[in-house]
């Protein structure tokens, strides 16, 4: 198991998870000029965001152990969430693209970390 790859995977999953939770917010979508979501779509975004954050927590624990993993995850989710929300008004495309890339890369990194 490669701890570095797990830690990086955890950070990327947290970024993507916070982005998914951010984009389910109807007031945020309204501000960004995105179309309204149906209730089902919104629930799917919440589920995806929560799942990604859960994966991020699991990866952080796998990388650093239970105590360090939980502390790291709490700090990481908060800081990355704050950075994402502050970046969003300046570049929605940047946030969306980076979140998609993070969501795609995180599982690859975690799989690679598990392999090596």
């Amino acid at each position: 198991m490669n701890a570095m790859q797990f830690a990086a995977g955890s950070a990327l999953a947290a970024w993507a998870g916070m982005a998914a939770l951010c984009f389910q917010s109807s007031s945020q979508r309204h501000r960004m000029g995105l179309r309204e979501q149906t209730r089902g779509q919104q629930q799917r975004f919440i589920a995806a965001g929560s799942a990604l954050l859960a994966i991020s927590l699991a990866a952080a624990i796998a990388a650093d152990g239970v105590s360090f993993g939980i502390v790291l995850w709490l700090c990481q989710a908060g800081i990355l969430g704050a950075a994402l929300i502050c970046w969003l008004p300046y570049s929605m495309t940047g946030v969306v693209t980076s979140a998609r890339c993070a969501a795609a890369t995180a599982p690859l990194l975690l799989a690679a970390g598990n392999w090596w």
């Binding site: 945020q28 360090f68 700090c75 800081i79 969430g81 300046y90």
Partner: protein
């Protein structure tokens, strides 16, 4: 009932915030700097920029210096080098105060007096005691401020009507007041676990100080015994017969064998010249969150194990929270996270103060009241002024000649003098027509001063020590390179802030007017 509670909490949040924000900002800002206190030491004390030693010997390196510097001292303390601190610190109590010197372990050379308190001697104690030592007043002030912080956190959650909806809201394009409120909300809600845990753990660390009245009641004149019992210390009275210290290196090897893994954090020798000498060896808690040092105590004369520390369950909890707060472990990513979160906390406190001012500016101006101007001046001095004073201290560290008597104290006084100046400046601006209603002038000017001082500090470090950024990066002196880089980033942020404050006129926005009417 609910709205009544919310209204009361709103009142509490507003006024507790105004009363305690400057002190809270100080605690959080100094705490944020203390995350990298050892690295700041390297930057402020160029003589300590030595390579990491490969092996450390107490008998060969520390003992000769201690025998020469403090032959009659009743206690010697030796801090071993660590990945963040390549020098060995030897310390002793001379009966009046605790003194320390630094030793380059590679050469065994006693380094000259640092001439600076550095991060560990100035910023870190400022964080937990405000440098007020008399009767533990600083610690008690910290307790009051911490409790105020907990009250602010709880009341802030209660008054936030749409906490989840506002979770993701940041509208920099809206009015200053709206954007400030958004930043205040985002920084407080997203890092709520951090704010809560760091404040609570800060209180738990000093439990022995805050419990002093209770301890005195229980232990009477033997109050000192409580820490011996809690930490499992063995303290023997001196036999008053001369004794020879056995090999401390052998004791260190024995302690390491008992631990299984890990290096030494600190060696403490009590009654070093006496037959009843004891040697306490602490493990460096580099691989765990809890600040557990697994101390092993030896008989100084024979080298036999006297005691292995076994802390109680209550103390295990205290040690865990201490570790969570003080980051004794080797985890660079987490250390940087703490640093970033500390800065976000400072932003939260600063924006809270700005909100108070911005909310009252229009109304008070119409009513001919000026209390908002005074709060604004205090807020500018408390937030931007603290940054300017810190940077002035760093510049003074490079400008004051080495070997100047009282150099370390002078550096400290420069900090306080600039800080006082940073309070006088916005107060003077407040009564200077025609701009007295523009609350941003003092902030903008101090932001420019901060940007210039940060660049000057980096330049002075390069000129005076020769360790410019390219060289430190090339040699891998990351403590110095990192401090320089953070200073440059701080300069950039300060300049951007100053420019933004220049760009936007402080006109009364229609939104603010409507909010004011609604409030009325």
């Amino acid at each position: 009932m609910k709205s009544g509670l919310r209204h009361s909490m709103d009142y509490l949040h507003t006024w507790a915030g105004v009363l305690f924000s400057v002190l809270l900002f100080l605690v959080f800002f100094m705490g944020t700097l203390s995350v990298f206190d050892r690295e700041i030491d390297r930057w402020m004390m160029p003589d300590t920029r030595v390579p990491q030693p490969e092996a450390v010997s107490f008998d060969r390196i520390a003992l000769p210096h201690l025998r020469q510097l403090a032959p009659d001292s009743r206690q010697w303390l030796v801090q071993y080098p660590s990945p963040r601190d390549p020098v060995m610190r030897v310390g002793w109590n001379d009966g009046k105060e605790f003194k320390t010197r630094q030793v380059d372990v590679n050469t065994g050379r006693l380094l000259p007096e640092a001439g600076s308190k550095g991060g560990t001697g100035f910023f870190f104690p400022f964080h937990y005691s405000f440098h007020i030592k008399w009767n533990d007043v600083g610690y008690w002030l910290l307790a009051i401020v911490s409790i105020a912080m907990l009250i602010l956190l709880v009341s802030g959650v209660i008054i936030h009507k749409k906490i989840f909806a506002d979770f993701f809201t940041f509208r920099p394009g809206k009015s200053t007041q709206r954007a400030t409120l958004d930043v205040h909300n985002v920084s407080s809600v997203l890092l709520l676990p951090f704010h809560f845990i760091i404040t609570l753990s800060g209180l738990i660390i000093f439990v022995f100080i805050y419990m002093k009245p209770g301890i005195s009641l229980m232990y009477g004149s033997e109050a000192g015994k409580v820490s011996q019992e809690a930490f499992g210390q063995v303290i023997r009275a001196p036999a008053k017969q001369a004794g020879e210290l056995a090999s401390v290196d052998a004791m260190v090897a024995q302690a390491q064998a008992l631990w299984g893994s890990g290096g030494v954090r600190r060696v403490s020798v009590r009654n070093p010249q006496d037959r009843n000498a004891t040697v306490e060896i602490q493990r460096r808690p580099h691989d765990q969150v809890a600040y557990e040092t697994h101390t092993v105590t030896f008989d100084g004369a024979t080298g036999a194990v006297l005691h292995r520390q076994n802390v109680s369950a209550a103390m295990t909890v205290q040690r865990f929270f201490s570790g969570l707060h003080m980051i004794p472990f080797d985890h660079w990513w987490l250390r940087w996270m703490y640093f970033a979160m500390g800065l976000v906390s400072c932003v939260m406190i600063g924006t809270g103060l700005l909100l108070w001012v911005e909310k009252r500016r229009v109304r008070q101006e119409k009513e001919g009241r000026i209390s908002y101007r005074i709060v604004n001046a205090v807020a500018a001095a408390g937030c931007m002024g603290t940054l300017v004073a810190t940077l002035s201290m760093l510049v003074a560290n490079k400008l004051l000649p080495a070997g100047l008597p009282g150099r370390a104290a002078l550096e400290q006084w420069i900090f306080f003098a600039v800080w006082l100046g940073a309070l006088i400046h916005p107060l003077a601006r407040t009564w200077q027509p025609p701009h007295c209603t523009d609350t941003r002038i003092a902030w903008r000017e101090q932001a420019w001063a901060g940007a210039l001082l940060a660049v000057l500090a980096v330049a002075m470090n390069a000129v005076v020590t020769g360790d410019h950024l390219l060289r430190t990066l090339d040699r891998g002196t990351l403590a110095v390179a990192g401090t320089d880089l953070v200073l440059l980033v701080a300069a950039a942020f300060a300049a951007i802030t100053a420019r933004r404050l220049s760009a936007r006129p402080a006109a009364i926005s229609p939104e603010a007017t409507s909010m004011m009417k609604a409030a009325a």
